[in-house]
């Protein structure tokens, strides 16, 4: 992709980011209920004090002015003070981010590891009973409500079989210095293999719950694009040359069949951010998703606002990345 084209695409991103911020700003601002009253709910304040707080928060200015202030602050990572924690919102969010990123990446790994082999097998054995079974399984996976699936896994693996722990990221017995916040890395840095295994055990069920619906969707994409590639002339040619079947499948076909899968994966990663709120709630995972849900009930609006904006910006960026990857990988759409 040429540099001008890249700049052009980046510029197209700006109105979307602007619109997203505007919607997030309006979500809070147009909500019935006065933030000052919420903040002063448990204190007796004189009308003068209320007025002073309104001025401090900038609530006496026009909507347009307040939006510009919000946008300027957001660009500097300043989302105000979390009512509940009495600390800057961004600090509270940053603390919870590693847990969510770790879970999302592992879930993604699960999804890709399940989807690609199954999609390829289904495409190679097209219209056999195996293909039909896999496509039924994938429809099943797409129809599963995530929160319920998580509960079934807890019932089976934690309550009945007592194989895996549930709740939190690591057992209380382990004391690991939090260098990166990513416990898989921190435990290895501390050279504590038992703690590492404990972290993995805590990750298994939430990651499967989060990753399986994505796997179901991804497997369908891989299957259909692989099937299309396998029916193309250059595969026929490769086979006619007498190349071994395995080599044709893995080297010639899969490489091209994965192009749409890469795009879908990038987009689905953004959707996983929403799924995180459910899965983190089910498994008591101390990440951003659960923080958002808790903040809603605590009426901690600045935090909800910042998190929704963060999720949306990440999602838009991932879609953009998907677009770039698609163009970069696919010689047919090179512009």
């Amino acid at each position: 992709m040429s540099a001008t084209r890249l700049v052009e695409r980046l510029l197209q991103l700006l109105p979307v980011l602007f619109g997203v911020s505007l919607i997030v700003f309006l979500m809070i601002t147009l909500t019935p209920g006065d933030p000052v009253e919420i903040m002063l709910a448990d204190q007796r304040a004189t009308p003068e004090q209320v007025e002073a707080l309104r001025r401090d928060l900038g609530l006496d200015r026009t909507l347009a002015e307040r939006f510009l202030v919000f946008l300027g602050n957001a660009l500097r990572g300043d989302f105000g003070i979390s009512f509940f924690h009495r600390r800057p919102v961004w600090d509270v969010i940053a603390e919870r981010l590693p847990a969510t990123i770790e879970l999302t990446l592992v879930a993604l790994l699960v999804a890709v590891a399940v989807a690609i082999p199954l999609g390829v097998i289904a495409a190679v054995r097209r219209d056999t009973w195996l293909d039909r079974a896999l496509s039924a399984a994938s429809l099943f996976g797409v129809s599963l409500p995530g929160f319920w699936f998580g509960i079934l896994l807890i019932l089976l693996f934690a309550v009945e079989l007592r194989l895996l722990p549930v709740g939190g990221r690591i057992g209380y017995a382990y004391d690991i210095p939090r260098t990166t916040g990513f416990l898989l890395i921190d435990t290895l840095l501390a050279r504590d293999l038992a703690a590492f295994r404990n972290v993995v055990a805590h990750l298994v069920l939430p990651a499967i719950t989060l990753g399986l619906p994505t796997a179901a969707l991804l497997a369908r994409v891989v299957r259909s694009s692989m099937a299309e590639v396998l029916a193309s002339d250059y595969i026929l040619f490769a086979e006619a040359k007498g190349l071994p079947r395995r080599r044709v499948l893995l080297l010639h076909a899969l490489k091209n069949a994965l192009i749409p899968a890469v795009t879908v994966t990038a987009i689905e990663t953004g959707q996983l951010l929403g799924g995180n709120m459910i899965v983190e709630t089910v498994f008591g995972w101390p990440g951003l998703g659960r923080l958002v849900v808790e903040s809603i009930f605590a009426r901690n609006y600045p935090l909800v606002q910042a998190a929704v904006l963060l999720f949306a910006v990440t999602y838009v960026s991932l879609n953009f990345l998907a677009d770039l990857l698609y163009t970069a990988l696919n010689p047919k759409v090179r512009l």
């Binding site: 979307v16 147009l30 409500p145 019932l155 099937a227 999720f311 949306a312």
Partner: protein, 302 residues
């Protein structure tokens, strides 16, 4: 050349079916599609006839029946076939009443979104220019939010409740119909039949609603069924998080959440409502696959 009268009548019978009826006829020939349509219909009947079909009052608590197991398990009885929840309420009755919430939200959201999305898509595709720019920017912006994040953000601000769930979901859902209709309209406005209608002096309203609309109805129908499964899961997820319909109104997602406190002692409280969600969503997904095959074989992979 003269045509015999009988043959002319035959020709009369072969009037082409509209794309919608043609598709429905093809759908009716698909066994999986028909069975799943039957399952959906059963849920609809259950929801509509809930006051007569539910064996007990869904809100009636009886602490002596607290966590009573299902009928086939030890300690269960057939008067309460699926057992009772943490307040001793009959789970089957709550499931039957819960179907109302799921289906009501799904029907309202999909219905409103289809109407708004179709009108916006028709206008954007037909007039182009600034209307198209405005609609497309709004669509792009809304697509910039992961669905659940958007819905949760709105529910956080508007507060829980049936009315607000419908609104929170419609605000984003119309986008999916709009995109499809806009694309179809852009293609349709270059066709001869639209050209002909305009040449006859028909106004934009007539051309859009009478000429183009009938031709975009099948994709709208396909999108609507396909999205309905998603909306049902969304409503259940919001209710699960406590942001949906408020207790004591029974909703499947909230029932699953209630049961989480008793996973060790009473597995049936959480699992049975989830089975209902799965059955309904699976049936809708199968039916939508059948519809897609029937209306547009090109859309279906392989």
């Amino acid at each position: 050349m003269s045509v015999p009268a009988a043959e002319a009548a035959k020709v009369q019978d072969l009037r082409p079916l509209s794309p919608l009826r043609l598709g429905l006829a093809r759908f009716a020939a698909n066994r999986t599609g028909l069975v799943s349509a039957g399952v959906i219909l059963a849920f609809v009947v259950l929801a509509l006839a809930a006051p007569w079909l539910a064996p007990h009052d869904p809100g009636e608590a009886d602490l002596f029946r607290r966590l009573q197991p299902p009928a086939w398990a030890e300690g269960g009885e057939w008067a309460f076939p699926l057992g009772c929840d943490g307040l001793g309420r009959d789970i089957l009755s709550r499931l039957v009443w819960g179907a109302r919430i799921s289906l009501f939200v799904a029907a309202m959201v999909i219905g409103l979104a289809a109407v708004i999305g179709t009108l916006a898509g028709l206008a954007a595709g037909y007039f182009r220019g600034w209307i198209d720019t405005l609609v497309s920017r709004l669509v792009d912006t809304l697509l910039g939010f992961p669905y659940l994040v958007f819905a949760i953000g709105l529910m956080a601000m508007m507060g829980p409740g049936l009315h607000n769930i419908v609104l929170a979901l419609v605000y984003k859902e119309w986008v999916f119909t709009c995109r499809v209709v806009r694309g179809e309209t852009l293609a349709a406005r270059e066709q001869d039949y639209v050209e002909a209608a305009r040449a006859l002096g028909c106004g934009p309203g007539h051309v859009m609603l009478r000429e183009i609309l009938p031709n975009v109805l099948s994709p709208v129908l396909v999108v609507a069924t396909f999205r309905m499964a998603y909306v049902i899961i969304m409503e259940a997820s919001l209710s699960f998080l406590g942001l949906g319909v408020q207790p004591p109104t029974p909703s499947w997602g909230a029932m699953v959440a209630d049961g989480r406190d008793f996973l060790v002692d009473a597995w049936w409280v959480s699992t049975t409502p989830g089975l209902a969600i799965l059955a309904l969503v699976l049936a809708i997904n199968l039916a939508s696959q059948g519809l897609r095959d029937a209306f547009d074989p090109r859309l279906h992979p392989s």
